[in-house]
Each structure stands twice: as structure tokens, then as C-alpha cells.
Symmetry: C2
Amino acid sequence: MSVEQQAGDRLSADDLRDAWILFTPDDRRLGFEQLQRPEAEDFFLSLPARDQEELVLALPPDQRRSWVRLLPPDDAADLVQAAPPEEREGLLALLDDATRREVTALLAYAEDDAGGLMNPRYARVRPDATVDEAISYLRRQARERTEVIYYAYVLDDAQRLLGVASFRDLFAAAPDKRVREVMHGDVVSVREDMDQEEVSRVFAERDLPAIPVVDAEGRMKGIVTVDDIVDVVEEEATEDFHKHGGVEVLGAPYLEMGFGAMVKKRGGWLAALFLGEMLTATAMAFFEEEIAKAVVLAVFLPLIISSGGNSGSQASTLVIRAMALGEVRLRDWWRVAGREVMTGVALGLILAVIGFVRILVWQKIGHVYGEHYLRVATTVSLSLVGVVSFGTLTGSMLPFLLRRVGLDPASASAPFVATLVDVTGLVIYFAVGSVILSGTLL
Amino acid sequence: MSVEQQAGDRLSADDLRDAWILFTPDDRRLGFEQLQRPEAEDFFLSLPARDQEELVLALPPDQRRSWVRLLPPDDAADLVQAAPPEEREGLLALLDDATRREVTALLAYAEDDAGGLMNPRYARVRPDATVDEAISYLRRQARERTEVIYYAYVLDDAQRLLGVASFRDLFAAAPDKRVREVMHGDVVSVREDMDQEEVSRVFAERDLPAIPVVDAEGRMKGIVTVDDIVDVVEEEATEDFHKHGGVEVLGAPYLEMGFGAMVKKRGGWLAALFLGEMLTATAMAFFEEEIAKAVVLAVFLPLIISSGGNSGSQASTLVIRAMALGEVRLRDWWRVAGREVMTGVALGLILAVIGFVRILVWQKIGHVYGEHYLRVATTVSLSLVGVVSFGTLTGSMLPFLLRRVGLDPASASAPFVATLVDVTGLVIYFAVGSVILSGTLL
């Protein structure tokens, strides 16, 4: 039974929202067509741009116009950007002339710049208008717009941003005062080419509902509102999370990725890490003789190298997130290195003590590690201090190195750090072993 | 020279913001006291609650009142919550009676519930007021408040939420219409005890600037605004990021954590993982004989087990983030398991082919793996398929398991998954080895 035939019990907007992810594009359209117009409008406006685009293209051409025209220019630009290149002209043609010009201007910005986020429509007033004139102008604006108006921006004849006045400032002032006397002159603004991650930092620091976007000459281009920033913050956090887990950024919901695309997004990194990890096999080959003589060394190998990987993963996690939140900057690398060396040694010592006790206890119970068990325990403990310190330092410095050469610090993924540390950890372990065990087992 | 003595070149708010993280509480106070009042107010309002609290307590008692009274009730409640218990009464006493009652009511909510996020002040109108009355009421409100007013909420006599009207709805309507005729009746609201992560999902889905908070009886308690949600999204992303990296949630900026606290936050998990990883030493002890006979097996051990850990880390990363974004729900576990088994086998096959070729090439060049190199290569390749499939399945299912028993899925950290997979990977590898190499090396 298709969605269309369930005439008796119609889908509500909430039902449709719940089932959305399970539906094919065609089911989605059928479900959407069952909604009443006002409910359907709310539903359409709440969809992400990718879904809006898919839905509009699934509708018959003569019905597309009214939906696309519902969108403010920034959202319309996102919809056009989400569409396949061959459909973009057709979608632009659905807009009225003024909006089409605005949308075309927005499409020129990189998607993750302030310019790509901004809404080109905002309330502007002249500095020499009276407060009363400004208020009735804003009332007229409020009547014509779907967006919430937060502030009136005061521009000179060259469109340069002079100041800002909130509703509250205007309502609280005497009606015959000039806007110039009421406005705040020291406006927080962002440049049109500022990266969206940095824009979200400005919002977090200043707690504003909207921030104006200006070009290099200080001419106002539009506003970014805080509700767009929620999406930016989610998106950037997802990207960092994926990169740090050693996955290429998906760019689509997990359950909507095809099998082939999924294998590709993960296989690339996994194969690269595998090639890197092959160095362990090369390194191990050098120590084959030692292993043959002292098999007990091999027994503790996974324990030692994984401890290095784990401590490195912790360090890279902390540094990457602190960088993303703006708490740690590139120039702080030296302070971080100092802290992490100390922390690494302390953590290494904790594991060394646990490891030492563990070997002693097992030896008491089962005599499993032979007559030289004290030397074995010493080898394991000393190696742990070395490997954990090295892992911590590597994990904390790799994000700085990546940022320094212009890459994303989040690419210092847990698996990447672990792979780096595995090879070195193995060499540290066998080097310590050949000193401590020389003349006894080796 | 102290900050105070730099009379000649006073600190600006921007300088202070930049140097903040490097300053002691006393330096911060001295810098803050140098700002002009309006600049200082903006600066104070933009600080996080922890810093506001520290700053207020660093000021002499007679100066504290005017700063605390600057805050809206929700922010004042956050400040009180951030203070040491013995200071809280004193801080509450600084507020005026009405605000103190509001703040005390807010303090009863859990910090990460909708109730803990909300502002109890909002614009309310009666359903039978005229549009004209409502507008002049809102104008009066706008004059008295520091907050932006997004919507007027329509309540009945029992404080139950009937509907909502935006500025735009009111301005666009005929002045003598009733609010009841203009309002939207189908209001998106959240319950006061809804978790803040879920509240942020509602904001992301609905794209609203503010959402009303109601109790179980539908009585309106306050509003949550989208600018508070940006902080929630950042905070939740940081928590998940830390947990997934195998670190306890820091709860403070990286550079502000003391050495002891830092070692404690990381040492606990690291030691727990170390104890878990000790199972590898126990398992390895069972295979000592095999290793002694076929040292070549040990050579590939780190490569095999780390591939399992890496693929597990990828899978847990994808599932945890998809759960946090609401894309994957508990009931989707079966679909995810199906996808991940297929993906795991595919990824395992890719690594198996690379591994097989690698051993063949090295053998051609250096004859390093002895006469049974084909059997060795087969052991490595088959193990890779097994270990990677197992790692992928474990990494994807562990977050479901954790959520099922009421824990945070993000605790399925990369190191935790790697540790689980290391032990099993090792057993798979030696099991495959003893079958394939039986009668030749073993």
C-alpha cells in the first residue's frame, strides 16, 4: 500500500518528520502533499537545505515556484547550492527578480564563509532620521518580512556601517531625537570572508542574536543570525569528531550514505593507517632474534604499545578540542609541550607501578615469567614510562604541527596518533629490553 | 609593574579579553577595574558564568551588587551555581526581592534541564487583549528589559500556554482585532525536565529563535533562547569529544586545569584501559609456544590488532555522532549492525589484499619470511578480514549497548574499543595461524 492510498488516516507533520529518514524521495513527496498548506509551510521551512532541494525537484515543475519563494534569500541560496549543477538555473528562474539578484550574489561566496551564511536582508536606517521615523519604518518592515528583526543598522550614503540601534533603544528614546544620537557606534561586525568557525567564536564570545557582515571597505553586506550559528557549530563539531575518529567527513546523515560511499570514506584512511602500521612489521623483523630468545618480551608487546596509543589519543583529544574552542592558540605550543611532558611522565609512572605489581603478583601465583621476572618487570615498567611520555607528547604536538602547515588539527586522529606511537613504542620497548635483559635472557 | 600601575596606557576591553586566560584572578580584577563603565558592562555580560563569579567575588563587597544586578535571572542563577556553596547565600542577598525569588526557583532545576536553561522573564499577553493593547504593552516591556523580545506568549488565567504571536503578526494585524484571532495556536514547546541535549535537537529541527518551557500541566515557566543553545551545543560536543578520546570530561578550559586535576582526569581512564589491556598479556601467555616456534607470527601481531582497533574506532565514531545528532536511534541497532557487518567485511578484504601483496613483495626482495611465506600471508590476510569485521561490529554496537543500559554512548571511546578488539584480535590471529600453519611452522 503506498502512502497515497492511506486516505483514511492522513499523515500529520509529526508522523512525516518521524518517518522521513526511512522514506524514499517519492514517499516523502507523497507524504508532504498530504499536509495542509500552513502545516506544510512550517514543515518545509524546518527541513535542511538538502531535503528541501530534493523535495522541490520531486514536485511537478508548476508547483515548485511557491515553495522556493517561501525561502529567505540565504536559505534559497543553500537550496540552489545543494541541487545538481544542471538544475540550478531552473531553480533560480523560479525566484522573483530582486531575490534572484540577491541569491546570485550570495552564491559567489564560499559556503563556509561569513558571506555564505549571511542574509542580505536587514533593517537599515539613516543616521539623521528621527526615532519616530525609524520606528514606523521598522513596523513596515516587520509587516513585509518573515524573519525576526533584531536590530536596525545605521548606514551612511556609501553603505558604510555607522552604528546599530535595538528596538529597545528606539522605543526607550524620545520620538524626535535623531537615530545618530541613540545608536551605539562601536559595532561588533565580521568580514565577509571570515571562516564560519571563526564567526561562531565571535557569537560565543559576544552573546549577540545577530552580527552584521561587512566588506573590506566597511560597507554592510548582510547579517548572520545566531540560529544559523547553531547549525555551524553542529557541523564543525561533527567534522572534527569524524576526522578525529579517523573517518573522512561524511557530509550526509549516517543512514543515508550508500554502501559504496561508506566504504570509500573509511577505506582510504584505514588503508593509509595500515600502510603506516606496516612499519611495525618492518621494525619487528629487526627484533626477531630477541623475540626468539625471550618470548616473554612478545607477551607484553600489545600492552606496551596500546598504552602509548591510548595516552596519545587522550592528549590529541584535549588539544584538538581546546584549539577548536579557541582556548589554545598556535603560539601556546611551548606551554602545552611543557605541561604534557610532565603529565606524560606522571601517567607513565602510574602505569609502570600497576604493571610492575601485576607481574610480581602473577609470578607469585603461577611462576609464569621465569627466574628473571624482576628484570622483565623492570623492562616493562621503564618502557611504559618512555612509551606513555612519548605518546602524550606526540599526541599533543601533532595538532600544532598540522595547524602550522595549514591542515586541520582534528586530522591528528586517535588511530593516526596510535600508529605513530606504535612504531616508536616498539623500538623503545626492545631497546630498553636489550639493556636490562642483556646477559640474562638476551 | 602591576597592571594597576600602567596608568599611561590603559587596557582596552579587547586587550583584556586577549590576556584573560594568562591573568590571575587578581590581575583580572585590576584590568577590569580600568575599563569605563559601559565598556565594562559589555565585557562582564560576555564572560562565561564561572569567570563572572570569580570576578564578582574578587571585587570588594560594596561593589558586587551593581554587577550581579546587571544579569538576567537565568545568568544570575548560573553565576550563583558556579560559586562555592558558602558564597551562594551572600550572592543571592545582592539581588532585589523579585529577582531573588526567580533565581531561587531556577536553582531548583538540574543544570542541564530545560528548566536550568530558561529565562523566567518573557512577554505574556491575554487572549482577549486587542492587538493595539498588546503592541503598547510590548513597547513598554521593551523599554524595561535588556533582553531581545522575540514573541508574545498568550496565556490563560491558569498560566497555561494557548498560543504565540510574533511582532510581525501583531504589526500586520488590524489594531482592534483580538490577540486570540491573530495568535498561532499550535506552539512548539518543551517540558521543564527535558534534557538540554534534546532541547538543542528541537531548536535544530524547528529553526526558532526562542521556545517556551512548560510544566507537566502545560503552564508556562519561561523561555529558552537560541543563543543559550549555542553554548549547549558547544558544551555537549566537547563532552562527547573528550569521552570519545578516552578522557574524563574536563569541565574547564585546558590551560586552566591544574596539573594534579589533569593527571586525575586522564589517569583514571588510562589505568582502567591498562587493566583491560592486561588481558592481552594473559592471552599471549597461552600462545607462547606458538610464538617460540613461529616468531614470524609475532612480527605481524601489532599490524593485525591495530587494524582491528582502527576500524572499531571509525565505526564507534560514526555511530556516536549519528546518535548525538538524532540521526540514529536505539531501535535502529539492527539496521546499523547489518550495514556494519557488510562494511567491515569489505574493509577487511581491502586490507587483506594490501597485506598479502606486501608480504609477497618483501619476500621477493629479501626472502625474509622463510619457505612458508604463502601460508604466512594467508594467515595474515584471513586474520585481517576477521579482525576488521569484528572490530567494526564491536565499535558500532558498543554505543547502542551503552545507551541501552543508560550510559552515554560517547563513552565507547576509541581507546576502549581498541582495547576490546586487541584481545579478541589476538585470539583470532593465533587461532587462524594454528589452522593454516599446522604441520608446517607449528
